[in-house]
């Protein structure tokens, strides 16, 4: 029974991975692509890891899968944030129909204060 629940988790993770890669191809902007791809693929791979843990059970291999899930949850949002900040600083334009850009307003206000 618990093996079937694990395979269900892995299937959900595979669907999330595929939708994230579709967003990576279809969306119009760097920031949109980063948002879609990073959220979907991180959640999907964490779900695959949790399913692997449920299938393998409480032994060293399952604990390794759980540790890998923990590392992925910790590192992937940090790298996404760093990439968004670096691409904004290096001058990548937003999409034409974008509405709000808080980071540029903050930088403008800071330069006016100085």
């Amino acid at each position: 029974m618990i093996i079937k629940i694990g395979f269900g988790f892995i299937t959900v993770g595979l669907i999330f991975d595929l939708l994230g890669c579709l967003g990576l191809v279809r969306l119009p902007d760097v920031y949109n692509r980063l948002q879609a791809a990073t959220k979907c693929v991180t959640l999907g791979t964490c779900s695959i890891m949790f399913g692997t843990f449920l299938v393998l059970g409480f032994n060293t291999a399952g604990m390794r899968a759980l540790l890998c899930m923990l590392l992925l949850i910790l590192t992937s949002p940090v790298s996404a944030h760093v990439l968004a900040r670096a691409s904004h600083k290096s001058g990548v334009k937003l999409w034409g129909s974008s509405v709000c850009d808080k980071y540029a307003e903050d930088k403008k206000a800071q330069s006016e204060d100085k």
Binding site: G20, C21, L24, A37, T52, V55, T60, L72, A86
Partner: protein, 126 residues
């Protein structure tokens, strides 16, 4: 004339990439042709789904207009390969694939940080 030469070089590159992918699938992953393993059909399904995701992200690496697009796509490709290692460890019973995935998480994080620093035009020893 120049456009024609560019097209020929892209075509040769695509043929080379297809040959390498076929070699990887048929030679170094012989598990695809052993249907007696446990959970084999589920493994085959997961393999093809993740291969489709990898092809989509490689398309973004080839086409992306700016450098940050390519860095994002390479990061996503690394995370997909981590998931593939975890899927591969179930039917074979070789649990050292999970060691590979843990090492790949850390390596992908560090390489993304270094590339972001390069994108901001900073020095590396800052």
């Amino acid at each position: 004339m120049k456009n024609m030469r560019l097209r020929i070089s892209w075509g040769i590159g695509l043929i080379f990439i297809a040959l390498v992918l076929w070699f990887i699938i048929s030679e170094s992953l012989p598990i695809l042709f052993y249907p007696n393993l446990p959970y084999f059909s589920f493994f085959k399904f997961s393999f093809w789904v993740l291969a489709l995701g990898c092809v989509l992200s490689i398309y973004r690496v080839c086409k992306g207009p700016t450098a940050s697009d390519r860095i994002v796509a390479v990061d996503i490709l690394g995370i997909l390969i981590i998931g593939f290692c975890a899927c591969l460890s179930i039917p074979t019973g070789r649990t050292w694939y999970l060691n590979v995935s843990i090492a790949w998480v850390v390596q992908s994080f560090v390489s993304t940080l270094a590339l972001a620093k390069y994108l901001e035009n900073k020095d590396f020893d800052e």
